[in-house]
């Protein structure tokens, strides 16, 4: 047993260091999360190795021999207090950075622009606020074949909203607040390279924020089981540098240009092509 335990301790460390399976290169400013993770790996790794090796030592040193007898030792107050304090310190060392980073995670910077992700079984759609920088009202009442996002045709703020049925593009280096909405069941918007994610609860709007830090094309996946095609509910997020982003945005259509948005208010339909603030 003892050699096997040593093997487990050493083998686990070796696997950790040598295996090719590790996180994907980060593409957002949530390096803080990675840093907290590394701290956690260190503290827990030390605890694991120390305890497993200690057990292995005990098994060799105190294995039954004929005539041997165990020591009689009901407790040791000092040792127990000491171990409790050390554990407490270890836990505090994990918790403190964790809470600091969480505080960052829940505080959206004031300058963040909004992007809306709308989920339904089993596809993604996206919406940008358009020239006025505000997302128009939406309600599930308005969801229909021509208006899959359920935008309110009466709301002027929604007329210039950019409705995207394809890949979502994000500008490099600018904070975005991702607003999440679902028209049917619970989903979760997850881009592994961004690290951040959040469930999407029908009936409410949830959010998280990030700043993309690397240009590239990333898979977005649903990360909360949402029915039989959950595994196939995938999308793509493209992070563009400024000129590419602007030219992509030029090509997108506003809600007013879509069949559902055409109608009462002609004025808004003449809006010039949107540009992000």
């Amino acid at each position: 047993m003892a050699p096997v335990l040593v093997l487990i301790a050493v083998g686990s460390i070796a696997f950790h260091l040598l295996s090719p399976w590790w996180w994907t290169p980060i593409a957002s400013d949530w390096g803080y999360i990675d840093a907290t993770l590394i701290i956690t790996f260190w503290i827990t790794g030390i605890a694991f190795t120390a305890i497993v090796l200690f057990i292995a030592y005990c098994l060799v040193r105190f294995r039954h021999r004929p005539g041997a007898r165990a020591a009689y030792e009901p407790e040791s107050r000092r040792l127990e207090v000491w171990l409790t304090v050390v554990t407490g310190l270890g836990v505090a060392a994990l918790l403190a950075p964790g809470l600091v980073v969480w505080n960052r995670f829940v505080s959206v910077p004031p300058g963040a622009s909004e992007v809306e992700v709308v989920a339904q079984q089993w596809r993604w759609a996206f919406r940008l606020p358009g020239a006025d920088g505000r997302l128009g009202a939406a309600n599930i009442r308005h969801v229909g074949e021509e208006n899959p996002l359920g935008l309110d045709p009466e709301d002027a703020a929604g007329r210039d909203d950019v409705v995207i049925d394809g890949d979502l593009h994000l500008p490099l280096g600018r904070p975005v607040k991702v607003l999440l909405r679902s028209v049917d069941v619970i989903h979760n918007f997850y881009v592994p390279e961004f690290r951040a994610k959040m469930d999407i609860i029908p009936g409410t709007v949830t959010y998280f924020w990030l700043t993309p830090t690397r240009v590239g094309t990333f898979d977005a996946l649903c990360n909360e089981v949402c029915g039989v095609s959950h595994y196939a509910m995938r999308g793509r997020v493209v992070v563009d540098a400024e000129p590419d982003y602007a030219s992509w945005l030029q090509r997108q259509r506003t809600f007013a240009q879509l069949p559902a948005g055409r109608g009462q208010r002609r004025v808004a339909a003449q809006q010039t092509a949107p540009s992000d603030r």
């Binding site: 047993m1 335990l5 487990i8 696997f15 090719p20 399976w21 590790w22 994907t24 999360i33 907290t36 956690t40 827990t44 694991f48 305890i51 200690f54 057990i55 005990c58 105190f62 039954h64 007898r69 165990a70 020591a71 009689y72 030792e73 009901p74 407790e75 127990e80 171990l83 836990v91 994990l94 918790l95 809470l99 969480w102 829940v106 599930i140 028209v183 049917d184 069941v185 619970i186 997850y190 592994p192 390279e193 690290r195 951040a196 994610k197 609860i201 029908p202 009936g203 949830t206 990333f218 996946l221 990360n223 909360e224 089981v225 029915g227 039989v228 095609s229 959950h230 595994y231 995938r234």
Partner: protein, 589 residues
Amino acid sequence: MADAQLGTAGPLPGAESEDVELYHPHSWLTKYVFSQDAKIIAIQYASTALAIGLVALVLSWLVRLQLGFPGAISFIGPKEYYQLITMHGMIMVIYLLTALFLGGFGNYLIPLMLGARDMVFPYVNMLSYWIYLLAVLVLVASFFAPGGPTGAGWTLYPPQAILSGTPGQEWGIVLMLLSLILFIIGFTMGGVNYVVTVLQARAPGMTLMRMPLTIWGIFTATILALLAFPALFVGAVMMLLDRLLGTSFFMPAIVEAGQRLRYNGGSPILFQHLFWFFGHPEVYIVALPAFGIVSDLISTHARKNIFGYRMMVWAIVAIGALSFVVWAHHMYVSGMNPYFGFFFATTTLVIAIPTAIKVYNWVLTLWRGDIHLTLPMLFAIAFIVTFLNGGLTGLFLGNVVVDVPLSDTMFVVAHFHMVMGVAPILVIFGGLYHWYPKVTGRMLDERLGQLHFWATFLGAYAIFFPMHYLGLMGVPRRYFDIEGLSFVTPSVATLNAFISVVALLVGAAQIVFLYNLVRSLTHGAPAGPNPWRATTLEWQTPETPPPHGNWGATPPVVYRWAYDYSVPGAAEDFIPQNQPGRAPGPAPA
């Protein structure tokens, strides 16, 4: 819930009654089938749990075949895959682990370890088992219902659980919820019994601080279960009404496939709160009995008293109390008020401290012990290693911000399998190897046991340790197929295939164990009353296996705590709890 309780409260043989006549069953049927003997009920619970557990094992094989060799098994499509993972999870957590620890070990050990003749309400105890069996049958029926069992994931999150996009929407989910409701009713009957028996039927001299930690663990877990299951009950009833009567407890306005459904205004988060208000204590409902049993296994087979008994008791009580204020750590990314994260991360990491103390004390019990590497001891050590591993990865997931990238990935799958799958099951095995001689009078076969142990321990570690790293990479859980994800490297397929092959082998080793269980009934070496030379009362019964009523004419009297091993000056290296006389140990202050 357990209303029948009242109807039968009158004619029960009081535990304090010395009338042994009451314990003579009158026919074969009342002796072996409708038995009111807690030991028979324990065997019935354990056999049923192991049988349904075997189903869960086969389901996990199929899941692993799909993950390791996508498309190789033609009859597993996405629909079947989601049904497989859902039923595997639900069976393992509720119908196997909860039932086996409390219904199985609890029923067998509570009266015997406490020196009681039986549970205080034997009739209710019998009823508890039969309702559990009914719950299992309803669950099994869902496999044969039109549309098959539910594929909503074991967490059964609405709205998807009752919508047509999820397999088993017609019958599966309804039977699942009914089965859970039955299980809870049956469990409540048993649970009331366990609590009252521990409180009132202890032998003279058995103070709380003389109880073996096994009983402390089962007792505390039962109280947790009595207080946690009502939340699941409420959630299940409400979801059933949403599904059958069109109420909108959990169902907001929904457009499904272009159709506006009649639901309006419900709160999916409400279900999650109810589910996890049950779900987190549930982890400790499984873990606390395992903690208790493993303490006794280590102490007995290291011939040394459990180190820091008082601290162990306090830790069990503290963990039990804290487990009710950590539930929302399953919901960090659920869209609940993000400021709850601060509170729940703190409580969750605080619970790590009493848990760590327990690990230290197990390890310190080995220190300067006289370690016999028997099969129960091997399983106990394997438990420490896997529980330590799973507990430490819990520090990743409990620390709110670290959970963000990892939640709902394979990291979570690896974590909870290690901590509440592999670790408690290793304890179950250790417990079965340890108490089988008392239950049957025969030892389990040692060589088959060694084979079973090494295959299970090393195999399980090889399955779940590398799996964490898939999650770290971002491989999501509950994915039928990860084909085409750009961040997943090709080598992941190799690792998945490796894990699947090992999983098949580990599963095969369990068949060896079942064979051993059955074969040793007739072929096992005779065990004698106390093969492990243990101190606790169950090993001191006048007959082995103990008959109904346990103690013959005179029930035992307790003179000492449960851990008088290797007491200096004593002739033997153990002194049974019912042996009178002073311990020659250090004099009291």
